[in-house]
Symmetry: C2
Subunit: 331 residues, 2 copies
């Protein structure tokens, strides 16, 4: 394997040691498998906890900090965190105003966060889950009943995190998280397969001239396998699929062109140019653009396009100060 690791079994714990060493703003507990804000718990503030399989960095631990998440629970690579991790993070961040779980819609994640919420209830902590299911590519998938949760998770965590930072109550924070999810859609394209370290072989095979349209963030199959196309054609396929599901004309959009982990930034900007031009040609306005590898799938080449139909209030919350390892502005 062409991987910068020590041993497949140690990837997550080694990366957590690196995260802890690099970011004094985080408190990392490798034993518990949790990453929380160093200033947690914040009294009287709704706390946000997310998590999921590792391999999608900076999601979620890179989004822990002021104005976004209070805690994250990284599972093994492409493997849901266990309820014990979630409850440990919950206990570490709970400030008495309740906890919002931001859960990507994968069967294991949904189940384990649900079990954690029950454990939290035993501790007199109110925990509410919001499930993110933004990926329009497939209705059900390898790991999912219903649509997968992908790029919009970042939108939900940022916007709900901003509202929580302002002191809003749990029901309002949960409501805005649901609203963002409902107004968001994503579609991804893989130009290469991906190898889970513990497996040692690619999760799927792609011919040298093939790509997979509608890929998930774990290498799950998408809609179809086709010949590698141009960036403009790839972005057209993604935005056409999104637009068919949620018409974009007339909307003010938050747009993420997201590198999948193995695609260099110069290519992400090539794709963003195509996305901006497509949207302009279809009557939509990009109010807030974001380009970069934020929701990745190990070393997969390719990109995902995610959009959120903004409202003035969602725009205000998106613009609010944030200070995390991977997203930072305006404070």
């Amino acid at each position: 394997m062409r991987k910068l690791i020590n041993a497949p079994a140690d990837v997550v714990s080694d990366a957590l040691r690196g995260l802890a060493a690099a970011h004094p703003s985080l408190r990392v507990d490798p034993g518990a498998g949790t990453v929380v804000r160093a200033d947690a718990p914040r009294r009287g503030k709704v706390a946000l906890v997310s998590g999921g399989g590792s391999g999608h960095e900076p999601l979620h631990a890179g989004f822990v900090g002021y104005g976004m998440l209070d805690g994250a629970c990284p599972g093994e690579v492409f493997t849901s965190p266990v309820p014990d991790q979630v409850i440990a993070a919950t206990m570490a961040v709970s400030g008495g105003a309740g906890v919002l779980y931001v859960v990507k819609n994968y069967t294991g994640d949904v189940l384990n966060f649900r079990m954690a919420a029950e454990l939290a209830e035993d501790e007199d902590i109110e925990a509410v889950s919001v499930v993110v299911d933004d990926d329009v590519a497939v209705e059900d998938s390898t790991f999912t009943a219903g649509r997968r949760g992908t790029g919009a998770t970042l939108f939900v965590e940022k916007i709900a995190g901003a509202l929580a930072e302002e002191g809003a109550p749990l029901d309002a924070v949960a409501a805005v998280a649901r609203e963002v999810n409902e107004r968001s859609r994503s579609f991804g394209v893989a130009l290469s397969p991906v190898t889970v370290p513990a497996a040692g072989a690619p999760t799927f095979q792609l011919g040298d001239d093939e790509m997979e349209l509608g890929i998930g963030i774990h290498g799950e199959p998408g809609r179809e396998r086709v010949k590698i196309a141009t960036a403009a054609e790839i972005v057209d396929a993604a935005l056409t699929a999104i637009d068919a599901d949620m018409p974009l004309a007339g909307s003010e959009l938050l747009v993420l062109v997201n590198g999948m982990g193995g695609t260099p930034l110069i290519e992400q900007y090539v794709a963003y140019a195509a996305a901006a031009e497509w949207l302009d040609g279809h009557g939509a306005t990009v109010a807030r653009p974001l380009v970069g590898p934020f929701v990745t799938s190990l070393e997969m080449a390719g990109c995902m396009v995610s959009v959120c139909r903004l409202t003035p209030e969602l725009t205000r919350l998106w613009d609010a100060p944030v200070e995390t390892p991977a997203l930072r502005w305006g404070r």
Copy 2:
């Protein structure tokens, strides 16, 4: 090619269109091949201009903004910018206090920036070049007389940019840029080759179980080709080479563990953990860590370790506010 592009000849211009669309804080002139701060020129401020071949994003255009560069000149992929680009950027950012060119030590870059400085003189603009040559891997290389300029370019641009933002004169800004370069060293390792779009084939071949120690950022040969090792062994090779050239014990360090473009962030944190432990075990202190893909080589897998021996003044300037697409804090 598994690349997210439209046509090999259009990669740089397409990416510049994307950069312009994504970042209103930048003024991109695709015809001139320049990227400058939207608020340029700043009267009375020393302006910083850098540039070099494309394919190393976010270097340099992603570092244009408050507290860092005033302008960047992206050449074609792995190709020096021409003097016309450099002088166009110079004219666009000159605020009457002189211009500092931050030049990576590649023969074409050094020559073209020198020619631009002569053109600037004709326009009554004082332009001074500082050449960055931090890479300890090889003494001369394919594109270089002397050492290559790699990861420390980021340090030079950030620290000199901070001093310029404070209103320091050109000689002081140039002096601190030279000081940072002299106190910095880098060493890179490639786990995969890299394909220049216009060439369509990898710049070199690596066996499935091989890596190249001491690689440059264009896939130039390094010191030796060996079997792929663990992250700890790779980091040990890099830091041992650096330490042999510039002893690190007793130093307060700025440390960059830099992803080369195709290595996911989780692996960069695995490498950073190893670097932090190596330095701790060798009597050096990491005062300022940075982890991420900042000085890349297209889709190359691997990492580079860069260090700078800080002084209190260099630390102060590193910590000063910066607001660019790729580096942002504290304002």
